[in-house]
Amino acid sequence: MITHAPKAAGYVAAALLVLFPLVYSAGNYDFVMHLWITAFYYAILASSWALLAGYGGQFSFAHLAFMALGAYGAGILDNYVVLTSLPTGTCTEFGILGTNIVLLPPSGTGDAAACLTAARATWPEGATVSRFPLLLQIAFGAIVGGGAGWLIGTLVLRLRAAYLALFTVGLSEILRAVLSAEIWLTRGQAGMPMSPLFPDGVTILGTSYGPAAKLPAYYVMLALFLGTLALLLWVARSRIGLFLRSLREDEDAAEALGVNTVKWKRAVFVLTAAIAATAGAVQGHYVGLITPNTIVLLQMSLVIAMAVIGGLENVVAAAVGAILISFALEFLRTDFTILGFEIDMTTWRLVFFGLLLMLTLRFLRNGVIQGALMWIERRGVGAETVAKRRAAEEAK
């Protein structure tokens, strides 16, 4: 019975998360919802990274780079492509099915929409201008991220362990430099603004929510999180998960047993990169801004630490770890005084966090959450081994 407990707990937790925004009534509603949205975002990144690194053994530092490609991919469509009911005559545009797709010239920190603004002044009332559809933006971001995943997966086929890590660190830093430098397109360090998830607000079950309301964003991110987790779990438990683990353990042996290691290595890069990119695109719309500094090494290290503390070889454990740590980091902001010393937690919280990471690596190699799950799921194994051996010996 107890071996089924984690599964049941998972369903209960998912149900509670769905109900939470509806029943939560203690103070700071928006702030608490924001913490959850951020936690889901990190959970998506950490759990997908766990599939890549924990199952596939591909210890990549490029995960946030994929995330950024998704966010910038969506952001570029968001900023430079609009749909209008009338042609502008001055911008680059083409018409499809009665709609004009207008391409605004990227102009860095200048006003990209100048030609559109000029045209709109002459339009009759009732002419509409709308952004490029949100879902298509996100899909485009996912495709850009997935494509980059394919490319990186191909480039690192022959790289193992430390070399793969170094390669992806370098790659991530290059992307950050490019995003900072190409101001004409990305606005550089100033960051690229992104429209809210629901710019005109949204009505759910008769209640209207404004563009800045947290509840719709909470449900969008929760749905993405649960969907991601379901997908990752399915992959992890299918033969693909088995092949990924076999190539993590020994690539040559897996290949000699008929596993197409090149195909599955590439596939896990594409899948996890596309997931990270999707999360990036949604998070970009939620926050309203995407900057190159979201992919600094410290941020990547944070995602890795979340997965490691939760449990690298279990996507659910990594996700739970990410949620716990993103809340812990928030609560550790409260300063306190000990033995007359005032501890400034805005700086010291990362020290505590680092300490937690070191303790986990030293004493709980499987992570805190995964360690507990394995203890529950594998309780009977030792006893079974001994019992079977005894029975066999008695039979002789």
Partner: protein
């Protein structure tokens, strides 16, 4: 009918010609021993056969189909499986999962229940069924060798290449490996056995291939090979080694 046709395989590492045009042919359920001193090219030949290393020249045909340009996983699926000199069990996967990998790689739609039954039957045969849910790393060195043999049975190739299956294995497990070899061979599969343990080689094999410095210097029944002057000179050392102690007496005890 199983055929493996190796023709003029050459391989050079830097300036070192490791294989200098090796040719042989295996037909049907043969049990062939591949022997030679250290550095003779046995493992390189194995790696070339399984596709891990591409030869500089020559061709390999398995059941008439050319396999030398293929990837290792394609060669494995085409029907050539191998074990490794140093055991390569998947250490952080359970024993059963170790066995499922080749079964699922061979057939994506494999029937799960049949696969489990087959795996359990194989583990029982190899006397490690009580360990089925343990991780690979929990097994002893000898048990890991057995696990590798089990994995290979799940792949079920036509030709099995066993690289040093007896190295570091306790005598009681040796008997299990002997039984395993007899079973596989009895099912009509061909086996290439690489070993430094002459006793086992001479007991099991009905044909020997002798490699020396990348040349195949002998190919024939053990009795003939044993008396081949080139082999004695190159591998088995001075002549008194052959007639006196060691080999012959050991063989006699087994016969």
């Amino acid at each position: 009918m199983i055929t493996l046709e190796v023709k003029d395989i050459r391989k050079k590492f830097g300036n070192h010609q490791v294989l200098k045009g090796v040719s042989f042919r295996i037909e049907g359920p043969e049990l062939v021993g591949l022997i030679g001193p250290n550095g003779a090219g046995k493992t390189t030949l194995t790696n070339v056969l399984d596709g891990a290393i591409k030869p500089d020249g020559g061709t390999i045909r398995l059941n008439g189909k050319r396999i030398d340009p293929l990837h290792p996983y394609e060669i494995a699926r085409a029907g050539l499986g191998r074990t490794f000199q140093v055991t390569r069990a998947f250490r952080r996967m359970t024993v059963l999962e170790n066995l499922y990998v080749p079964a699922m790689a061979m057939d994506a739609r494999v029937n799960r229940r049949e696969m489990e039954e087959r795996a359990n039957e194989i583990l029982a045969f190899l006397t490690i069924d009580h360990l089925r849910n343990e991780y690979g790393r929990a097994l002893s060195g000898g048990q890991q060798k057995l696990l590798e043999l089990g994995r290979l049975l799940m792949l079920d190739p036509d030709i099995y290449i066993l690289d040093e299956p007896f190295a570091g294995v306790h005598p009681s497990l040796m008997a299990t490996i002997y039984k395993w070899i007899e079973r596989v061979n009895g099912e009509g599969k061909a086996i290439i056995l690489i070993s430094h343990q002459m006793e086992s080689i001479f007991t099991l094999c009905r044909r020997l291939l002798v490699l020396n410095f990348g040349d195949l210097i002998a190919d024939g029944p053990p009795a003939t090979v044993k008396n081949d002057p080139a082999v004695i000179d190159a591998y088995l050392g001075v002549e008194e080694d052959m007639s006196g102690t060691g080999l012959l007496t050991q063989e006699a005890t087994h016969a």
